[in-house]
Amino acid sequence: MPQTWKDNHALFLIVIGLLAWVVPGGGHFVLNERRRAIVICVTVVLTFLVGLHVGSIGVIDPVNAKPWYVAQLMNSPAVFFLGQISASGQFPVFGRAGEIGQIYTSIAGLLNLLCIVNAVYTAHLEGLKGARA
């Protein structure tokens, strides 16, 4: 296979991965997996929003809860901006609601990570199939 195909393929995989990160389900959408994309998008976004609603925006804490924040960042780059807002510490977060909110938002992020990996892998398989044809 020529080097250019490999270069283009790697770039394609990176673009798919980035799209899947920016919008949950975006990678699958570009790969013409529309239904899969909608199911992923609705579920991940809903789980994340439920977490934010239960625990408040303060559950995104880039200062005192870094490991959770890393998992939350997997949802979308938009979480970075939410983290900047909540870093001021003006949003209260406490008790059971804080725990549940943190767990929901982090699990949503990890689920999106699974979808990013799946979208990149699917794109890779499609690329290989196209190269052989």
């Binding site: 199911v39 789980t47 609603h53 549940i100 689920l111 979808c115 799946n118």
Partner: protein, 94 residues
């Protein structure tokens, strides 16, 4: 409309009131549903409503049963350690 939007946004700035009791464990269910739906969405070859719902419900059931069995076993171990062992040793754990 503006008031509704403000109310909606404001609901994201304060945490809900959730007590630390057995009922709070029910918050597990929506999370299990989300995990099962996304996992199955990445695994099935094609998403067809009926087959997808069936597989997802099966996975949700499996996870719930596994959690219930794990909880029972852990509860049994905790009961043995805190109730039975101290009684055998002739004293209380606390």
């Amino acid at each position: 409309m503006m008031a509704l939007t403000c109310t909606l946004l404001a609901s994201f700035t304060t945490p809900m009131r959730i007590d630390t009791n057995a009922a709070s464990m029910l918050w597990l269910i929506p999370l299990v549903v989300a995990i099962a739906v996304v996992y199955k969405a990445t695994k099935v070859h094609q998403i067809r409503a009926k087959a997808f719902a069936k597989e997802t419900i099966l996975l949700i059931g499996s996870i719930m049963v596994f959690i219930a069995v794990s909880a029972l076993i852990l509860h049994g171990i905790a009961w043995l350690v805190t109730e039975q062992l101290p009684a055998m040793a002739g004293g209380s754990a606390f």
